[in-house]
Symmetry: C2
Subunit: 193 residues, 2 copies
Amino acid sequence: MRIYGDRVSGNCLKVKWTADHLGLPYEWIDVDVLNNGTRAPEFLALNPAGQVPTVVLDDGRPLAQSNAIILHLADGSDLIPADAYQRAKMFEWMFWEQYSHEPYIAVARFQVRYLGKPLADLDERLVTRGGAALALMDRALAGGGFLAGPLSLADVSLVAYTRWAHEGGFDLSRYPAVQAWVGRVEVALNITD
Amino acid sequence: MRIYGDRVSGNCLKVKWTADHLGLPYEWIDVDVLNNGTRAPEFLALNPAGQVPTVVLDDGRPLAQSNAIILHLADGSDLIPADAYQRAKMFEWMFWEQYSHEPYIAVARFQVRYLGKPLADLDERLVTRGGAALALMDRALAGGGFLAGPLSLADVSLVAYTRWAHEGGFDLSRYPAVQAWVGRVEVALNITD
C-alpha cells in the first residue's frame, strides 16, 4: 500500500496511526499540501478531488477520504466495535467530525499556523462553532472512556485535530474531559509526533 | 423506530427513503427546522448537537447523523456492497458528500429557497465549490450506473441534495451524466416527492 499524505494534515495522520496500530506495511509518499502538491496532474489522476490522504491499495486501486480509508484498513479489526449500536455511534462521530468539527477546529489551526493569520482576525464562526464542538465532546466524555465504547476509529478520527486545537486558539484546559481523553488516545495509539 | 425529521431537509429524506426501501416500519415525527424545532430542550435531550435527522431505535436508544443512521438501518442489506472495495468507495462518496458537496449544494439551496437570498448574492465560494462537486460527479458517472457499483447508500446520500441543486441555482443540464443518474436513483428508490 502507498499512502500519499502530508504530516501537517491530521486527516493524513489518521491513516498512518491506523496502519501502524494494525501493523499494516505501507510506503509513505509526501505530498506537499502547502505548495500545491495535490494539484499535480499525476496526483489528480489518483484522486480527482485533489485531496490528501489518498492511498493506493496493494492491488493498485486508489481510495480517498481519510475516514473511508481507515474504515477499509480496519475492516474486521478491534478498531471497529462488534456491537451494532457502538458501531453506529462510531459512524455518528466520524460523520460529525467531518461536518461539525474539522471545518472549524482544523481550519482555524490552518489559518493561524500555516497562513499566519492573527488569532484576533479569525472568523467568529470558526471560533464559536469550534468551541461548541469541543463543548459537545466534553459532555460526551465526562464519564471517561472512549467515544463509542472501546477504542475505535471514532477516537482515531477525532483526536487528529482535537490534539492540535490549541494551535487554532482553542484552550483545551477549558474542556478537561476532552484533554484527558486526548491523553488516553495518544497512549492507546502510541502517538508521539 | 421514531424518525425525527423535516421534509425540507434532504438529510432527513435519506433516512425515510432507506427505511421505505428496506420495508422498515417507523413513526415520522416532524421537527420544524425553520422555527427552531431542533433547539427545543426535549429534542436536545435526544441529540445534543441539535441536528435532524435523529432516530430513536426500537430499544429506545437515539442515533444521529444521516449517513450513520442509514448505515445502521441498512446493515446486512443490498444497499451496502458485499465487495470490500465497492464498500470502501461507498464510504468515500458518503464522507465526500458531507465535506465537499452538502456544505455548498445544500447551503446554496437553503439560502435561496428558505432565506429568500437572490441568486446573485450567493457567496461565490458556494457557487464555485458546488459546481466543482457536480462536475466531479459528472465525470465519475460518465459511464452510467451508480456511484459505487450496484445501487448503494452512496447514491441515497448524494441524490438527496443533488436532485434539488437547481433550487440553489445550479443548472443540472450542464451535468448530463448526473442528471441521468438522478433519474435512475429516483426510480430505484421510488422517490416521488
